[in-house]
Symmetry: C2
DNA sequence: GCATAGAATTGATCTGGATCAATCCTAAAT
DNA sequence: ATTTAGGATTGATCCAGATCAATTCTATGC
């Protein structure tokens, strides 16, 4: 099970041979539980380990000189926590769990050795970093160019698609373990204003969000409100469903999880 | 000369053997001139070519549904224009020249073959993408968390450091071929407001900017105004000076090009 | 059931940047 | 020298979001 999360993720981009899969299985060993709000890596650390997030949510963030925290990425189950290992001698950002969860640690040296000997794996990993970059670009566009309402809508769309890709959306509902303050830090908005935008979205019958459960009521409406481009995550093939979270997809041609009409 | 821009850039991150260098020299052949404002790749294209920017400036940008343009990266001489070739079957953003300049085209297949057979080169290229990502993160922080004044200052700091790294800063002066409207599109600000922030910076004796020439008068002051972290670009070793632009560095220990006191 | 603490919500007010609208510069073209 | 066009600058006003300040929920734990 454990290794498969990684294999499955990478195989989505680049076909991996059986050998490659065995290699990956070998490096991703024991799963460890991690506590809510646990710092996985701190800004300034010399990263020596790649984390594979098996369960739970995490964030990448940077602290501004005035102490404000800017969230620069949201990591979902199946995401690779830090390949930056390969260049950064000093992390330029921190990574912290948002919820309790489970991770697998992969030491830097293991990772480097594998990459050196398995071009297909290297390429697949590289691809994941390029996808991360595409998401980051879209976040920049979001914060730089959209108003608060569209901005919130856009983030919800993105998370909905990404959660759908890993099989964590059921009937238009998903867990969204961010407080409104957290959302604000990801969007460059005040918690108060996030709240107002959310209630506006609720008022228009697009979504519902309470008790950390997001429900999409009108996906098309939300997409329109956000100016969201469903193609932007560069999904090649939809990820196969994952272990215990899995749920058969009802419609293999749909790019987005269906929203309940 | 031509090949060396690439070699030099990559060698900065990962030591390349003579063989590797020969390989790189072989793939980066003829230099072509490109016109000002030439679109290198358009959003939606299936990218088939990597561009190496030899001379001139370019931008990565995305167009919002309402037609606004958000600049998501600024490319300087020596930058690799698009490795995204490797994943994206559809470009999620466009790339356009800002000035006239010179480029080298490298076909996707060539690139893929080289990468497959030269792990060191692959790793070096991967590194460049991770550095790009670090810059992107900082841009997000900039737009999401800083006020207009610090935001402008921060971009100027970044460009100053990057230009210094490729030997294009002389006595605290550099070319900056962006209009104030362009700066606004990179920063999520109005041209009018960019203008006001610039004159504020000028008023405090930090910089001067006219006729597309930026002059840093008080680097420490600018860094302080920006909340800039000089380490953020992850420079491992300073890039060696490049061809005709080069100028011996006066102080090998300085991280930043000196500003004239 | 009651207390507690972390969130969400709501209202009132303020302000950093946006907008709108003229000029003003400056370099290249005639 | 004069026109022209792309930028820069300046001033006046507006408004989306920030701030400040209470409440109100809601899930705990006792």
């Amino acid at each position: 099970m454990t290794s498969n999360a990684l294999t499955r993720k990478l195989d989505r981009w680049e076909h991996l041979s059986d050998d490659d899969q065995v290699t990956l299985a070998a490096i991703s060993g024991r799963i460890e539980p991690v506590a809510r709000h646990k710092q996985l890596i701190e800004e300034g650390d010399d990263p020596r380990i790649v984390f594979l997030l098996i369960e739970g949510w995490a964030i990448r963030y940077k602290i501004l000189p005035d102490g404000k925290r800017q969230i620069v990425a949201i990591l979902l189950p199946g995401d690779l926590c830090d390949i930056h290992v390969f260049i950064l001698d000093r992390m330029d950002h921190g990574i912290a769990m948002l919820t309790a969860g489970k991770i697998v640690r992969i030491p830097k040296d293991t990772m480097l050795a594998v990459v050196d000997q398995n071009p297909a794996i290297a390429r697949a990993l590289w691809w994941t970093t390029l996808v991360d970059e595409a998401v980051l670009r879209e976040w920049l566009v979001n914060v730089g160019g959209r108003n608060a309402y569209a901005r919130v809508a856009h983030l919800l769309c993105e998370l909905y698609v990404r959660m759908g890709n890993v099989g964590l959306v059921t009937d238009g509902r998903m867990s969204l373990p961010l407080t409104q303050a957290d959302l604000g830090q990801a969007l460059g908005l005040t918690p108060v204003h996030v709240n107002r935008m959310l209630s506006q979205l609720r008022g228009k019958g697009l979504v519902t969000f309470r008790a950390f459960q997001l429900r999409i009521l009108d996906l098309d409406g939300l997409i329109a409100a956000a100016g969201f481009d469903p193609g932007y995550l560069h999904g090649k093939r939809p990820e196969r469903t994952i272990g215990s979270w899995s749920r058969p997809r009802r419609n293999s041609t749909a790019k987005l999880p269906e929203s309940p009409a």
